[in-house]
Subunit: 548 residues, 2 copies
């Protein structure tokens, strides 16, 4: 049996456009004499469609596009993810489903059984739970179909426990092949986990597994692709390249050699960010970005990623020094822009800063320089970037990293200005790793930028580490507390950090909640990001930060 795996990059809500692509792939599959062609979860509308699902005309259009696919299915067995109305039982009005189509006939649907409602997923908001598992017979083979989360309960992860295990249910039907239709978003090092789950599945089912994933960036979520075929022994037979569209004809009747899987997690992280930026722009029909270049490592990395995503001719960088900017930082920014081949405009802001100070001096009389004056500088820069954005139609890229977002070390409406926060989910320690990755072949980010101690340069002789412990410690607490929900007590025990230090960091995380609520959309690349899938109250007393 020949199976054509189609890893596509859909645009959310572009039902006709996505279906056009699907039809082209079906033609390609037919040309290659495929028996079966399989697409990703919700392939017709893209994942996640969010509340667009509530509009009745969205459902009607989905049905019209499905009919186009049915018409094109002569002599081929098609499995395609979509949404369909639930007219069968009480509960939510929709199913997250896969249509099974062959020879111009809609053979049936497989509805998703397990509806992830945790982290970035909220499928319980839209969908009813699917009924029994089914297999579809084609050319003498029993083809089982499961949808994404359906196979995850088989691993018994702590954060996704369901009353049913569709893999066990499927096992009773003795499928010859399992097709897994997925829209599984990327996070750092997640692919290891997926391979483990696929192995657990084939171990139970004793049949090959073919998982087709979506690829592409959709708002905060980035889908890495990595569609995969595995034999019944758990050997990987095919692994689609990540972060790009790809299709592949897998001939299960041939003796296929297992491939050795080697995943470069750092390269994946970088490429995830590049694709996230690229798709955010191109799917909006935009191509130009501007950003402030301070001479610091965050804006340097942001600029490098932006150049790889959009092309150097589409990046406008602006240097906006104030009285506290060091000469070496300005030189570093110049050198970086030169290495990247991007335009760098110089717009010193000190006279504007002084004007604000003068205007406010009667009101502020007798009060010391504090975070107020620091923020004014960052906000003047925000105005300039947004003015350039408004006048020329560029999108502003904000440059804050996850550690800063955690600590509140960023100015709301200042350096948090932007249409996209590329590094919002990248911890400071990863920023350093990625900067070195950028320089893997030649020095693009000047060494001095990587080596100097982090500073916002918003007052004289400022260093981040004057107020905070080193970012190594910050990032560990960030991981344990934000990603893994460890208690402060457990974090203290695990790392032997001083209690006041851990408590202070956790207070800062909660105190900055109000800022993050208004931050730019960020690309999610960690298990738990601040940008999507994490909900904490601003007003709460579980963690009281009055003492900060």
């Amino acid at each position: 049996m020949k199976i054509f795996i189609s890893q596509l990059n859909p645009i959310i809500g572009d039902l006709a456009g996505n279906t056009d692509k699907i039809l082209k792939e079906i033609e390609k599959a037919k040309e290659q004499k495929a028996d079966v062609v399989v697409f990703a979860e919700l392939a017709i509308c893209g994942y996640p469609p969010d509340d667009l699902l509530f509009f009745p005309d969205f459902q009607e259009e989905m049905h019209r596009q499905l009919n186009r696919i049915v018409e094109a299915s002569e002599n081929i067995f098609v499995v395609v993810g979509l949404v369909r109305p639930n007219n069968e039982k009480k509960g939510k009005s929709l199913f997250n489903s896969a249509a099974i189509i062959c020879n111009k006939e809609l053979l049936g649907y497989k509805d998703k059984t397990l509806l992830p409602t945790y982290n970035v997923f909220d499928e319980g908001r839209y969908f009813a739970e699917g009924g029994e598992q089914k297999v579809f017979e084609y050319k003498g083979k029993k083809i089982g179909i499961l949808i994404c989360e359906d196979i995850w309960e088989h691993m018994n992860l702590p954060y996704a426990q369901y009353a049913r295990d569709p893999v066990e249910e499927m096992n009773k039907l003795k499928p010859d092949i399992l097709l897994v239709v997925t829209a599984s978003p990327y996070y750092h090092e997640k692919m290891d986990l997926r391979l483990q789950i696929y192995r657990d599945c084939v171990k139970t089912l004793h049949c090959p597994l073919i998982a087709t994933n979506q690829v592409g960036g959709n708002d905060q979520l980035i889908f890495d692709g990595y569609s995969c075929a595995m034999n019944e022994k758990g050997d990987v037979l095919y692994l689609a390249p990540p972060f790009k569209e790809e299709s592949f004809l897998l001939d299960l009747d041939k003796k296929l050699k297992p491939i050795k899987v080697q995943i470069d997690h750092l390269a994946d992280l970088y490429n995830a960010l590049v694709l996230g930026v690229k798709d955010y722009f191109t799917k909006l029909n935009l191509n130009k970005a501007c950003l402030g270049l301070s001479g610091g490592i965050d804006s340097a990395l942001t600029a490098s990623i932006a150049v790889d995503a959009l092309g150097k001719e589409n990046i406008v960088a602006i240097s906006m020094p104030s009285r506290f900017s060091s000469l070496s930082s300005m030189d570093d920014a110049d050198e970086l822009a030169n290495n990247l081949g991007i335009q760098l405009q110089h717009m010193p802001i000190d006279h504007l800063f002084q004007q604000f100070l003068d205007m406010l001096s009667p009101v502020f009389a007798g009060r010391k320089f504090d975070v107020t004056e620091e923020n004014i500088q960052a906000r003047i820069r925000g105005i300039i970037l947004m003015a350039v954005s408004n006048k020329f139609g560029y999108i502003v890229l904000s440059t804050g990293n996850k550690s800063e977002m955690a600590m509140g070390y960023a100015t709301l409406y200042g350096d948090m200005t932007g249409g996209l926060g590329i590094l919002n989910d990248v911890a400071k320690s990863q920023v350093f790793e990625l900067a070195k990755y950028v320089n893997r072949e030649k020095e693009i980010i000047p060494k001095n930028i990587i080596e100097k101690p982090p500073s916002a340069e918003l007052r004289a002789d400022q260093k981040d580490e004057d107020e905070l412990p080193s970012y190594d410690i910050v990032d560990v607490v960030l991981r344990d507390y934000v990603e893994d929900h460890l208690t402060p007590e457990d974090i203290i025990k695990r790392h032997k950090y001083p209690k006041p230090q851990v408590e202070d960091l956790i207070k800062r995380i909660h105190k900055a909640e109000y800022k993050r609520r208004q931050g730019p959309p960020g690309l999610r690349v960690s298990k738990t990001s601040f940008s999507k899938g994490r909900f904490f109250p601003i007003v709460q007393k579980w963690v009281s930060y009055q003492s900060l």
Copy 2:
């Protein structure tokens, strides 16, 4: 049987503080010889606790506080909402539950059956579905307990369909009294619906119903209270006052006269906003706010609400005219500040505006005045407000209304600056109604502010209606499309509006998605607000707004 209804205002996560209040209420109930005392849903932690639920120490502390309540339950039957671990079945690890306690003994739990996962609710993220219904016998009466959503399926609302109807299940147990433990957030005119549901329940169960609700503002959600007792015929025997803490001893053995329910929906809307502001500040231990006063109706209404919430001595208003501000607007702002008795500072921004223009002129050479220059003015005002906020610890109140948020008629990082957007969920037509409500006894908001045509005054002779249809039309489309998910076609049919007009408005709604994503937290007072419980992609092609 004497039932003590306790309508409290908890602070999210303040488990010890909330329990202190609960214990005081139990003492009061005992003094009044109550047989039963009943509190709201999740009374110990407050609703909604969001992802705080994921921390194990949060659960442990909840258990400790429960023990304090058990100790205090001598001679009284206590029903109190809380979260408890699910050690009984597969699925999510927690139950949204009510503990039933009497004579220092924990008699058992009633776990919530229906877990709302729609609109502002995401209980499917945290909780497992409760098992069978139960009644608890006390002093010869069978007391049935249901939790909030548990009774809503009995009405068969289109947006909350479940496979089970706990009211029907309860009916088999023939309760003598039904206690409904709720945390039901306010929206405009919702109380009418609640009364209808209570009536449907008693009609089925033939027994009195007592619904205890939480009161208070928690981030975007405002809980109105309105705890209610109804006899088996559907007569209201008691209705707690809205928007305040209250307790009441209801003696079911006495012949109680039905009360006539008259709800002033406009007053409720105003008072909801006042409480939302008050609790946002006081629960953060803050009390001072600042805002820009333009002489327009939105900032006038915002200031009035803020004064009622925080007191006139705690409001600092700033007038920041530019070259486009009319003299009459400045006079209006002066008169309003005078009527409200608040401080008004004058900080003209035109010289700063000119400085930005001068700085940008080489870059902008040859380009016309457009929205860029409008936004610069709004953003200078944002910097000033935030500077005052940072220096003195005030929270900035942003003044945009829901119609503006819908249309993108607000400047991101400009007038969208703020810690709280009081009117973010109040449509422009409601703004006018509320302004008149403020003036119900005497003129506080000058008549001229109410009567002049809306304008942002960011360029010469600007009027909102130069670009938009009248706000009456905008607000109808807003309600039909955003709140009720009607299709454009249905809206056109229903109101006979021209097709291009409706389509243009809907495109604007989607185009402004990126702005709203970064807007200040707003108080939710409509069924569907932009601030919470509405999820749309920024990058999508279902509604293409390229042509705008």
